[in-house]
Symmetry: D2
Subunit: 205 residues, 4 copies
C-alpha cells in the first residue's frame, strides 16, 4: 500500500466519508501547496495538545491555560446543578448547547449500548456515570435527562440505563426522564409513522 492509499484509508474512517471521497481528499492535498499540508498537519497535532477530556463529563474541550482538567461547562458556577443530561457523543452535546434550551450539566456516555452485544463496550462510561451521579447527589442533583437519538439503539440505551441506574437513583430520590417524543419540526401528519402518532397523541397537551 503506497502513501496515497494509506492516507486514503485514514480519511475513510472520517464520519460519512467513503472510498471515493477519501481518494479525492488525498488528491486535493497533493494539488495544494506544501504550506497547506504543513499547516493542516500542525493544526491536527496542536488540537490534540490543546484538548483534554473533562474529568467530570468526559467531553473533549480546549485546555487553554486550564490546569484543572475540568471543562468550562462543568466549572461554570451559574450552571443548574439539579439536572444532568446524558448524551451519546460530543457532537450531540454541541447541538444541544447551541440551541440554548438547557442550562444544566452534561455527561458524555461515549457511545450507545448495542442491542445484540452481551457485554457493554468498555468505551461507554457506565461506571463513571454511576460515580458521577453519587457525587452530584450531594450537590443537589434532582433529575437525570436521557437525551439519545430516537433510533432502536437509542431507545435500547435509554431503557438499559434506566435499569442500571435505578438502584442508585431511587434511594437518592433522583428522577430519571427522557426527551419528549411527538411531532418534530416539519412532521406531516399524513406521512407520520405509527410510533410518532402514538407518542404525539399520548403526549398531547
Amino acid at each position: 500500500m503506497d502513501s496515497i492509499e494509506k492516507l486514503a484509508e485514514y480519511f475513510k474512517e472520517f464520519p460519512g466519508i467513503g472510498e471515493r471521497q477519501a481518494k479525492r481528499f488525498v488528491y486535493f492535498l497533493m494539488s495544494r501547496n506544501l504550506g497547506y499540508s504543513e499547516s493542516l498537519s500542525k493544526m491536527i497535532m496542536d488540537l490534540r495538545k490543546e484538548i483534554g477530556q473533562c474529568k467530570e463529563c468526559f467531553r473533549f474541550f480546549l485546555l487553554n491555560k486550564n490546569q484543572t482538567g475540568i471543562c468550562e461547562i462543568c466549572a461554570n458556577p451559574n450552571i443548574d446543578l439539579t439536572t444532568l443530561m446524558i448524551i451519546e457523543k460530543d457532537s450531540d452535546l454541541e447541538s444541544v448547547k447551541k440551541s440554548r434550551v438547557y442550562n444544566g450539566r452534561y455527561f458524555i456516555l461515549g457511545g450507545l449500548i448495542p442491542i445484540v452485544e452481551k457485554n457493554t463496550p468498555s468505551r461507554v462510561h457506565l461506571n463513571e456515570l454511576k460515580d458521577k451521579i453519587k457525587r452530584e447527589a450531594k450537590n443537589g442533583l434532582k433529575e437525570i435527562i436521557m437525551a439519545f437519538s430516537l433510533s432502536p439503539q437509542g431507545e435500547h440505551t435509554d431503557s438499559y440505563l434506566r435499569e442500571q441506574l435505578e438502584s442508585i437513583t431511587e434511594p437518592l430520590k433522583i428522577k430519571i426522564s427522557s426527551l419528549g417524543r411527538g411531532l418534530s419540526t416539519g412532521t406531516e401528519l399524513e406521512y407520520s409513522d405509527n410510533d410518532t402518532l402514538k407518542n404525539a397523541l399520548r403526549n398531547r397537551q
Copy 2:
C-alpha cells in the same frame, strides 16, 4: 389546446404531479386498451356517486346503502365520545385511523388557516366546528385535540382555533390540547433543529 394537452392539464392538478409526469400519464392511457380507459373513467364517476360528505365530521365516505348522511366512524356506537380530533384533511385522518392509536371522533377542518390572509377561507368549516362542539358537549365531550402538521401554517391554525373556540369551550369545561412535540422516529440529536430540541426537553418525561 388538443385533447392530449387538455387531459395533461387535469393530471397536473393531481397532488405531486408536474408537467412531465402529467404528459406521461396521458401517453400511458393512450397506450392501454380502450377497456382500461372505459373502466377508469367509469370508476371515477362511480366513486363520486358513491361518496358523500359526512354531515357530522365532513369527511368523505362511501355511502353504500347508508341514507343517513353520517359516516361509519360518527355512527359507531363504540367510539369514545369524550374526545374530538380536529384534522386538516381526509388523508391525515386516514393516517391516524390506520395507526389505531385513537378511538374518538374526528372533525375535518377542510384546510389550514393561512398566515397572511385576513379572512378565513370559506372552505374551512369553522362555523360548523363551533356548532359541532356545542352539540357534542351534550354527549359528553371533554377534550378537543388539535392534530395539525408541525409547519408554520399548522401552528398558526392551532393558535387561531384556540382563540376562536375559547369562548365556547371554557364555559363548557372542554379542554383543548394539541399533539405532543419532541423527537420523532429517526430524529438524530446531532441534526435536530432548536425548536425540536426545545420541545423535546420541555416535554421530557
Copy 3:
C-alpha cells in the same frame, strides 16, 4: 375491495405511482367538486375516441378528422424518406420530436426485447417492422436508426433487432446504425463509468 381501493388500484398502474400516492389521488378526487370528476372522466373517454394508432408507425395520434389511419408525421410529404428511427415507445418519440434534431420517419416497436424471455412478446411489432422496411425500401429507405435507452435491455434490443433484420436489410443495401455513445450533458470525467469512457474514447472526433 371498495370503490376507493378499486380506483387506487388503477392509479397504481400509472407510471411512477406507488400505493401511497395512488390513495392520495383518490382522496384528491373525492375532495374536488362533482364537475371536476365529470370533466376528467369525460376527457379520458374523449381522448380514447379521438386517438388512433398509426397504421404505418404504430404511434398513437389524434385523429381529428383524419380518416386515413395514418399519423401526421407519416403523412407529411416533407419528411425525409431515407431514414427510419426505431423507437421503444410514444414518450421517447415525443422527446426526440421535441428536440427537432431528426426529420425522418419513426417506427414504434412497442417495448424492448426482454433479455431472459425466450419468445419475443407479441406486443412488440417485429413482423410489422419487417414489412415496413420492405415497403419503405421502395420509397428510398437507406438507413435504419436504432434509438433505445442505454440500458442492458436497450442494448439487448439493439443487437437482437440487428440480427433479425440483417437478412432483409443486407440485400436491400439498407444500413443499420445506432445512436452514438459517449459523454452526455453533465457527465463528469471523474465519476464516469468504464463503458462511458470507453465509448467516449472510441467515438472521439
Copy 4:
C-alpha cells in the same frame, strides 16, 4: 477563533465538505486517541515529501526513489507515443487510467478555462502544453485528445485550446480530437436533453 474552529476552516476547503461536516471531522479527531492524530498528521506530511509533480505531464506522483522528476506513466517505454490526452485534473486522470481504455500519454492542464475571465489563470499549464506538443511531435505524436467533462466550462476549455493550439498542430500535422458525445450509461431517451439527443444522432454508427 479557537483551534477547533481553525481546523474546521481547513476541512471546509476539502472537496464536497460543508461547515457542518467540517466540524464533525474535528470532533471525530478529538474523540480518537492521540496515536491516530499523530499518524494522520505524519502521513499528510510524508505524502507531501513523497510526491513530486511530473515535469512532463504535471500530474502528482509518488517519487519513491525516482530521481528523474518524471512519473511512471511518462517514463513507461510501452506507452503509445502517438496520442496525448489533455485532462483537467489528477482525479480525472485516475478515472481514465482505472478504466484501462487508453494507453497513451496524458497532460494535466491544472484546471478549466473560465468562460468569463479575460486572462487565462496562471495555474493552467498552457505554455507548458505548447512546449510539450512541440517536443512530442519529434517522438511521433499524431493526435491530441481533449478529455474534459461535458459542462459549459469544459466545452469552453475544449474550443479555447483548439484555437490556441491550431497554429502549432497544423504545421506538424497533429490532429486534435475530443471525447465522443452521445448516450452515456443509463441515459433514458425519454428524459434526454436536446444536446445529448443531437450528439447521439449526429454520432450514430
